[in-house]
Symmetry: C2
Subunit: 221 residues, 2 copies
DNA sequence: ACCTGAACACCGTTCAAGT
DNA sequence: ACCTGAACACCGTTCAAGT
């Protein structure tokens, strides 16, 4: 598609800007301020652009306006950058789940559907990021950090189930097992949706919603 | 790990064997009989070996004992070979689901757990293949063939749900939605298990089983 | 008809060298 | 301290040439 495309922006020998301590979003501090952040942001943008994108370290460097070796001063290797992106993804997911129930819905049922819906919406809105988060492309000891961060993102889910069980709205089951069931369900729905295998055309209504409600039947008391 | 490893088997200029019409498993027809099948089998073996394996066309050719350009006479590109592997995966999955209920369990409940358990067991036993089947690495129009084949593999699931609803054991719900719920659940459990995120240590008992039974609660009448 | 070898445009990663 | 340029060992893919 893009063979031999020209350098998109020459190294611009502009005046060195003092490293801003405030996180100015519109800044381009590139190869003099903090390249590390520029790399992460460029990579995030690439992840956001296209779900079928082949993620390349050299392409990140190109778009950040630095040489292809520069990133190695900030990340030991490609996997380390991917790990950072994945971790940020889990943090973002956690925030969105929290936001989905900040004006807390009155019924446990509505709360359940709000959290589940927000989870699926996040994955479908950020397919490349979501797949990265679960792809294992970020190395294997990554699991240590990742699963920790993933579990923390799921804190909202655990709290919700705890409340539901306490109020008597949900069946009293071992919390971890019930949480695993819910996580697996929304993860499965999200993944199949991203891959285009849960097509609303082939199915009556929206299968994602149906699947969520079928699980809800198993959770409600 | 393996830099510059020597050719593992020289082209052996043995007597040309007549192309066997019967599928002799122990044969090595390699670069004179049907290379196509040799490539597929070599690739399958590589997929079976290691879940973290980086699948390389050149490596397949190396292990099949042919030049790295030879596969292009049988597959237009790498994606085409991966597609073939994925399709075979879905066929195998379909067979295993069928086998799981060939002496049909007496209760709908047992049948449900047998099918679900077989699905998860297949994925966990063939992690690289399972991930390939859902990874989108096999191109995109692939979805046309793939989803067709995937749905056909899920025929066993649909039949089971139909029987369960007919007998009154399962809730009467739109079949496609209920099937989507079940598929998403087993897919989610399988994926999370493969990635090592459903660790039995962290959870009381086996979370996969718990998750399956929680869904079952939502399916049972 | 089927396969090889050299070639091209890429990668990830390393390292001496520049500022 | 941070970045560049050349270099190495790989890829996927193409193509003329061999048998």
């Amino acid at each position: 598609m893009s063979p031999g495309k020209p350098r998109m922006s020459p190294p611009l020998p502009s005046s060195r800007k003092t490293p801003t301590t405030t996180l100015d979003a519109g800044d381009r501090p590139y190869h003099h301020g903090d390249l590390r952040r520029a790399i992460v942001e460029t990579a995030s943008a690439m992840l956001r652009e296209d779900k079928g994108w082949k993620f390349t370290l050299r392409e990140v460097a190109r778009r950040a306006g630095v040489s292809h070796a520069a990133p190695y001063k900030h990340f030991p290797d490609k996997a380390a950058l991917l790990l950072e992106l994945a971790l940020r993804g889990f943090d973002q997911l956690g925030q969105e789940l929290q936001a989905a129930i900040t004006p807390r819905p009155r019924s446990a049922r509505k709360e359940f559907l709000a959290v589940g819906g927000a989870y699926i919406a996040f994955g479908v809105a950020n397919p490349a990021l979501y797949r990265l988060m679960f792809s294992g492309d970020a190395g294997d000891p990554r699991v240590a950090h990742l699963s920790e961060r993933a579990l923390s993102a799921l804190g909202v889910l655990l709290d919700m189930l705890t409340r539901g069980q306490a109020s008597g709205a949900f069946r009293r089951r071992p919390l971890q097992g019930q949480a695993a069931a819910c996580w697996a369900q929304v993860h499965g729905i999200t993944m199949l949706s991203i891959e285009g295998l849960l097509m609303p055309e082939k199915v009556g209504t929206t299968p994602a919603q149906d699947a969520l409600e079928t699980l809800l039947d198993g959770v409600l008391a």
